[in-house]
């Protein structure tokens, strides 16, 4: 299989790009792929803490680009998951520390060693996003079912299309099925109708996501929550498996609805 470079992006900040990157990277590695997740957010790095690798950083991507070390010296191996690596970025630099050409070169070099290269893009549509996306062929767009997040996702999808990325697929994060059911918020079908791109996953709003980032332990490592299952399904679909979607818009029967009943105490 040819190595794949995938940028995880959103436009709007705070919708779950970094969590998504960490969880999909972990799930892909657990499935047996050799994976590296790159923090593309120079100056506001977060992937290291979400993955729980912040204490192991010696060199950053910027050190490699400035010639202070070799690229493979920036790779941090995740000891809990075989085949999973992370490349941190610098916290003390700005977006100007990386250029698009450099990112393309970094991705090309990593393709010799990895099956999947995931890049956690910064929010926004400026240079940071453009540099982070430069080396990627594919894109995952993360949104939440909010008017503002969907609007920004639409803008980012337009930019990714103009950059020739393909496929561009959508992840709808933080879905609250009981609110969708009451008609209190947008459902996944609404978001898909409006954005008109392929869906690769929908992730319910789940407290386990917070506890996992508190601990620095991606959900897909060991958790059996709905959110963990959703991220694992996304990773599986990325590898080409046909995994059916759980209908979060209209939760029914046991499974997820039963889980909701337990969690929120809502009857039908």
């Amino acid at each position: 299989m040819a190595p794949r470079v995938i940028v995880v992006t959103s436009g709007k900040g705070g919708v779950g790009k970094t969590t998504t990157t960490a969880n999909i990277a972990t799930a892909l590695a657990v499935m047996g792929n050799k994976v590296v997740a790159i923090d593309g957010d120079v100056g506001l790095r977060n992937l290291d803490v979400v993955m729980g690798l912040e204490n192991r950083i010696v060199y950053t991507l910027i050190d490699a680009l400035e010639g202070n070390c070799r690229l493979n010296q920036t790779l941090i191996r995740d000891k809990r998951t075989e085949n999973l690596y992370m490349i941190p970025t610098a916290q003390s630099k700005t977006k100007d520390a990386v250029s698009s050409d450099q990112m393309v070169k970094v991705c090309d070099d990593l393709k010799h060693e990895f099956d999947y290269i995931l890049i956690d893009s910064p929010a926004g549509i400026e240079a940071g996003f453009k540099n982070a996306s430069a080396g990627a062929e594919e894109a995952l767009v993360v949104t939440t079912p909010d008017v503002s997040a969907v609007r920004d996702a639409d803008r980012i999808i337009g930019l990714l299309e103009s950059m020739g990325k393909s496929p561009i697929r959508l992840i709808v994060n933080r879905i609250r099925p009981h609110m969708v059911k009451r008609g209190d918020m947008l459902g996944v079908s609404d978001v898909l109708d409006i954005l008109a791109i392929d869906l690769i996953g929908m992730v319910p709003d789940d407290e386990s996501v917070f506890t996992s980032s508190s601990k620095g332990e991606p959900l897909t490592l060991s958790s059996d929550t709905q959110a963990a299952a959703a991220f694992r399904n996304i990773a599986s679909r990325l590898t080409g498996n046909d995994v059916p979607f759980i209908n979060l818009d209209e939760p029914q029967g046991g499974g997820f609805f039963g889980f909701l009943k337990k969690t929120f105490g809502h009857g039908r």
Binding site: P145, D146, V147, V150, R151, D154, R155, G158, M179, V180, R182, G183, D184, M185, L186, G187, D190, I194
Partner: protein, 100 residues
């Protein structure tokens, strides 16, 4: 809010439809549809003004209109977005019809 939903609310006959039309989820969807229509078309207020001017020029050739009262906007109606123009007519001049 459209006349349809006002009526259904008034007569209480619309039932679920009325609830659906005014639910926060539906409002979010309606707002997004219009916002994205503007975003994608990149229709700035300036472009809208130019378009309005051009439309006025064309219509003026045929009927006398009240230029100051013209309203032109993208509106969301029954699940689709329309460019809606409200153009008050002063008079329609009598025209010579050679073939009439």
């Amino acid at each position: 809010m459209g006349i349809r939903s006002i009526l259904s609310g008034f007569f209480g006959s619309g039932g679920s439809e009325h609830i659906k039309d005014s639910s926060p989820g539906q409002i979010a969807r309606d707002r997004l549809t219009v916002v994205l229509m503007h975003d994608r078309a990149d229709i700035s207020p300036g472009i809208m003004e130019n378009m309005k001017h051009d439309i006025i020029e064309v219509i003026k050739k045929y009927i006398e209109i009240d230029e100051n009262q013209i309203e032109l906007a993208l509106e969301n109606e029954d699940d689709s977005v329309a460019l809606v123009a409200n153009i008050p007519i002063r008079t329609v001049p009598r025209r010579h019809r050679p073939h009439g």
